[in-house]
């Protein structure tokens, strides 16, 4: 054996000894590991127990938000304007959707979806962020809902739900006033980062009062704590925290009047505003034609949207606040107030020979009225009188009175937008056009033409302030107090009101529209506003609809003790007395004698071919059919 010298001698017994020693070492290592494992386990389960308990709980328990029921919107008498209806709905969660074509085909079969809706769903799916549910159908009958529910396992991404949907009993009549609700879009979610916004079935206000009063109407979501498996399967409900409904919003609106006014506008494009002329409560703010907010709440189809946005009568535009018109002669009661405030004697006579000469230019009147005092000038709407007197007092006086009576003003209202128009003045023209004010500007302003533009609410406010002599501010919410008096002498108001009485009840321009009610009279003022410059003999009384004159009317009633003020604007109605005053007459009649007003409306609706809802549905169907035909034609041509 060539053993190296340094190597120790290994024998059988020393080998056995080595084994014993080394086995002891390994045994000790095993014991050490047992201690290490015990220690590690103790660390996990004692020192870090709290943390891991929390993690285990957050594994086990998932919170599911329950959308709160939205607060009702009711009118001044508690009558519902916007309520919630229990409904069945079907959504698609884009993130979970697999095999889009098959799922949509299956849903189409189960729910009888029209092609228009399928197109909308597909488009929404294309744009949808992963977390945002796309509504497929709402307000489903239970049978259809159940049909989807039982097939849910084969339809990944499809979520049948029970929930609430917004319902507006008056439909289009309140469209512009309350707006509508809809699913929050990506921007709205990003802005608020509230998980509630992406809860399927939850809607937020998108327009009108629904949008501006969102915090009050929304309420607080309920929550269900659910025990779920790692795969997301529900084991059981642990506890439920009920939702807190949004608070009811009471408006100053009279729902009956609102609906009546909307229906009375009929086929016209226009607006009706009625104010309580003591408190400023807005009783009615109707703008027609309008969209049906119920359709919007369900998610409107592209075709419907196209129809609304292409309509020349602008159903998407709230004309009471965003429609701007030259006030025409409805401006004259305010100008009369300005004249009085500047010391013009109401009895002073101006002779009307059919016009007024300023330099080498003649400003025309609509007639040869002869000698005019203020009372008769208002009744006959004599331009010559207002040219002459307006020029005498100057623009500053008129402009000041205009602002005092509400023109050019933005009111403190919970609305999405107000177009407040222009009450021109010397300063204003300098600022806007870098030109100085001229005499002819004053003449034009005196009869409500030229630079002046106003919205229908401002017209109603002017009417209310003249009717009551009080600084009423329009209000939409809550109960108003009687407004303080305006700082002008009572006789001035009286003079102007008497002139307005004469317009309707005497030898005035709106004699045909006096109230047929015992002991109740209204005062008013007609107005006709040119849409374009007078050319030749047409004078905006004929020709294409969109070039015809606007018809305006402002009024108040009863004249003995004014309570209500009203403005009516009929776009391209050709004249205040012809188009606007009859509407105002019926609307005011409604306030005093409902059956009589309804009887009048029934007659009109019969001649128009059905109620508002019926006519809107017919028109939509006709439009959709035409659009489909057009599409088919262009498709065939290709």
């Amino acid at each position: 054996m060539n053993r190296r010298r340094s190597a120790p001698l290994v024998t059988e017994s020393s080998q056995a000894y080595t084994f014993t020693r080394r086995a002891m070492v390994l045994g000790a290592a095993q014991g050490g590991l047992a201690l290490l494992l015990g220690g590690r386990m103790a660390w996990l389960s004692i020192a870090e127990n709290e943390r891991y308990n929390l993690l285990s709980e957050s594994n086990r328990v998932q919170m599911q938000l329950m959308p709160p029921r939205r607060g009702w919107i009711v009118d001044r008498n508690g009558q519902p304007i916007a309520i919630n209806r229990s409904d069945f709905r079907v959504d698609i969660i884009p993130d979970l959707l697999k095999d889009e074509d098959r799922v949509i085909a299956e849903l189409t079969r189960l729910l009888d979806l029209p092609p228009d809706e399928i197109e909308r769903v597909r488009e929404a799916l294309g744009k949808a962020a992963g977390y945002q549910p796309v509504p497929v159908a709402e307000n489903l009958p239970f049978e259809k809902y159940a049909a989807v529910t039982v097939r849910q396992p084969e339809l990944p991404g499809v979520a049948p739900q029970r929930g609430f949907s917004r319902f507006y009993p008056a439909g289009a009549a309140v469209g512009h006033l309350v707006g509508y609700v809809g699913t929050a879009n990506k921007e709205e979610y990003e802005a608020e980062k509230n998980p509630l916004l992406i809860t399927p079935g939850f809607k937020i206000g998108k327009e009108g009062l629904e949008k501006t009063m969102e915090p009050r109407l929304r309420g607080k979501p309920g929550a269900i704590r659910l025990e779920v498996t790692a795969g997301g399967r529900l084991i059981r409900e642990l506890e439920k925290q009920p939702d807190v409904s949004g608070r009811t919003l009471q408006l100053t609106i009279d729902a009956g009047l609102q609906e009546y006014a909307a229906r009375r506008l009929g086929e016209e494009s226009g607006s009706v505003v009625v104010l309580d002329c003591l408190t400023g409560d807005i009783l009615c703010m109707a703008s027609m034609p309008a969209y049906d907010p119920n359709n919007f709440s369900d998610g409107i189809s592209r075709n419907e949207w196209k129809m609304l946005s292409q309509d020349e009568r602008r159903p998407l535009n709230n004309k009471t606040l965003n429609g701007l018109y030259p006030p025409g002669s409805t401006f004259k009661p305010m100008v009369a107030m300005a004249l009085l405030s500047a010391g013009v004697e109401p009895g002073e006579i101006v002779g009307c020979g059919g016009g007024y000469r300023l330099g080498n230019r003649t400003f025309r009147c609509l007639g040869r009225h002869g000698p005019m005092n203020m009372h008769r000038a208002i009744a006959k709407s004599c331009n010559t009188y207002f040219y002459a007197m307006g020029r005498r007092v100057g623009i500053d006086v008129i402009s000041h009175m205009g602002e005092s009576l509400g023109f050019g003003q933005k009111f403190d209202l919970p609305v999405v937008s107000q177009s407040y128009g222009t009450m021109p003045s010397d300063d204003w023209k300098q600022r806007k056009y870098k030109q100085s004010w001229t005499q002819s500007d004053t003449l034009n302003t005196s009869i409500g033409q030229g630079y002046v533009i106003v919205n229908p609410l401002q017209l109603a406010v002017m009417s209310a302030r003249i009717a009551s002599g009080r600084a009423v501010h329009p209000r939409l919410i809550g109960k108003g107090k009687i407004a303080r008096a305006l700082p002008f002498p009572a006789e001035h108001f009286d003079t102007v009101r008497k002139g307005m009485w004469e317009v309707v009840n005497g030898a005035g321009t709106a004699g045909r529209s006096r109230l047929e009610l015992p002991g109740i009279e209204m005062g008013g003022k007609t107005g006709t506003a040119q849409v374009r410059r007078i050319t030749g003999s047409q004078r905006g009384q004929s020709g294409a609809w969109k070039y015809r004159d606007h018809g305006l009317f402002v009024c108040f009633a009863p004249t003995a003790n004014p309570r209500y003020a009203c403005s009516v604007v009929i776009e391209h109605g050709m004249g205040g007395s012809r188009a606007a005053a009859p509407v105002a007459k019926d609307v005011l009649t409604y306030l005093f004698d409902k059956p009589k007003a309804m009887e009048a409306l029934a007659g009109f609706e019969q001649s128009w071919g059905g109620t508002l809802a019926e006519r809107m549905e017919r028109r939509t169907n006709a439009w959709l059919a035409a659009a489909a035909a057009e599409k088919a034609a262009s498709g065939g041509g290709r």
Partner: protein, 371 residues
């Protein structure tokens, strides 16, 4: 030997203390599997109990065999094992990304598991024949490559890195016990430390690299591969001192804990029985291993000593790797917890180890020198 006379000697001489420990571990397995199935004997608890009984019977049968017979048949068993491994590669069933199973109709057999005790017997036989004087020479090392090469190659082809690792660890431990010079182990340890970066960069598959990275930082990927580790720690940590109670484990019942009936059964048990239950399990395993090392120390021959310690170490490495893994002290490798986890092959292997240990124990006790 003042045993009651009505008990047969064969029964009376069984190592009863160790058997009770084994039965307790098997029972823990049945309880854990019963709970993991949501309080049901199917699909796991009942087969586990039946298998446990059958394999325990097998172990008791092995205990009747003389250790010399194991010595004599070591190479025959080795050749049989190699054939099974080749058969596995040819006809095996793929499970968990590796072709490791032979489907025998009734049972699915994992031949690489069976190879572990066989290799222990082969090594023990080899070292028992190396003359004491030769133990420090190269001749005591190179034959290992001959013995280990074929099976390791065949197992790596499956590929099953976990089993390979356990075989290598077991072999090193046996070489250590056989009396190879200490400097080999120290030098080898240093070499391995140096080689780790190279192995990591060039030899590991992407999913294996991921496992290592995730072991080092499980939170970086809580829903991917780190999910196993994180959920296991949550299960153990949320169990607290005395656990959530039998059948009340949420991590296991709601399926957050993956592989709760196999590799992560300890976490499922710890969630329901707490630190107390976990420590009892660890203690039972420790007692079993202590008994095994005791058998090795008491054995009379060199083959018996090395075989007994090798069998014990085989069981030990299962336990150590599994428990370290579920507690987040080792990367996730598919190693079950012996006797407790669901699965036949590992239990069969462990029972064979215990059978051989009992056989050696029996021959020790029959040795007149010990009386």
């Amino acid at each position: 030997m003042m045993r009651a006379t009505f008990v047969p000697t064969a029964v009376a001489t069984l190592p009863w203390g160790m058997l009770w420990v084994v039965v307790a571990l098997g029972t823990a397995g049945v309880l854990g599997l019963y709970s993991a199935a949501g309080g049901s004997m199917t699909p796991w608890a009942l087969p586990h109990a039946v298998r446990f009984m059958a394999f325990l019977g097998l172990a008791l049968a092995l205990a009747r065999i003389r250790p010399q017979t194991f010595h004599d048949f070591a190479f025959i068993a080795y050749v049989g094992g190699i054939l099974l491994l080749i058969l596995t590669l040819m006809l095996g069933v793929i499970g968990g990304g590796a072709r490791s199973w032979l489907d025998l109709g009734v049972v699915r057999l994992q031949p690489s598991e069976l190879m572990k005790p066989v290799l222990v017997l082969v090594l023990a036989r080899f070292y028992s024949h190396v003359p004491a004087a030769e133990i420090r020479r190269i001749a005591a090392i190179w034959p290992l490559a001959v013995f280990l090469g074929p099976p390791i190659l065949l197992i790596l082809l499956q590929p099953d890195l976990g089993t390979t690792m356990l075989i290598v660890l077991n072999t090193i431990a046996l070489m250590f016990l056989a009396g190879l010079p200490l400097r080999l182990f120290i030098g080898g340890g240093l070499a391995v430390a140096a080689a780790i970066p190279i192995v990591y960069s060039f030899m590991m598959l992407p999913h294996q690299r991921d496992r290592v990275l995730i072991f080092l930082n499980p939170e970086q990927d809580p829903l991917g591969a780190g999910y196993h580790l994180t959920q296991s720690k949550i299960a153990i940590g949320s169990g607290g001192l005395f656990g959530k109670g039998f059948l009340n484990g949420t991590q296991s019942h709601l399926q957050y804990l993956p592989e709760q009936h196999t590799d992560f059964i300890f976490s499922a048990l710890a969630e329901e029985w707490g630190l107390a239950g976990g420590c009892v399990l660890i203690l039972l395993f420790f007692l079993l291993l202590k008994w095994g090392m005791g058998v090795a120390l008491d054995a009379k021959g060199r083959f018996e000593r090395l075989a007994a310690s090798g069998m014990t170490l085989t069981i030990f490495f299962y336990i150590a790797v599994n428990l370290m893994m579920v507690m987040g002290l080792a990367p996730v490798v598919g190693i079950p917890l012996p006797l407790v986890s669901y699965g036949g092959s590992a239990m069969l292997t462990v029972m064979i180890c215990l059978g051989v240990l009992m056989a050696i124990d029996r021959s020790d006790r029959r040795d007149p020198r010990r009386r």
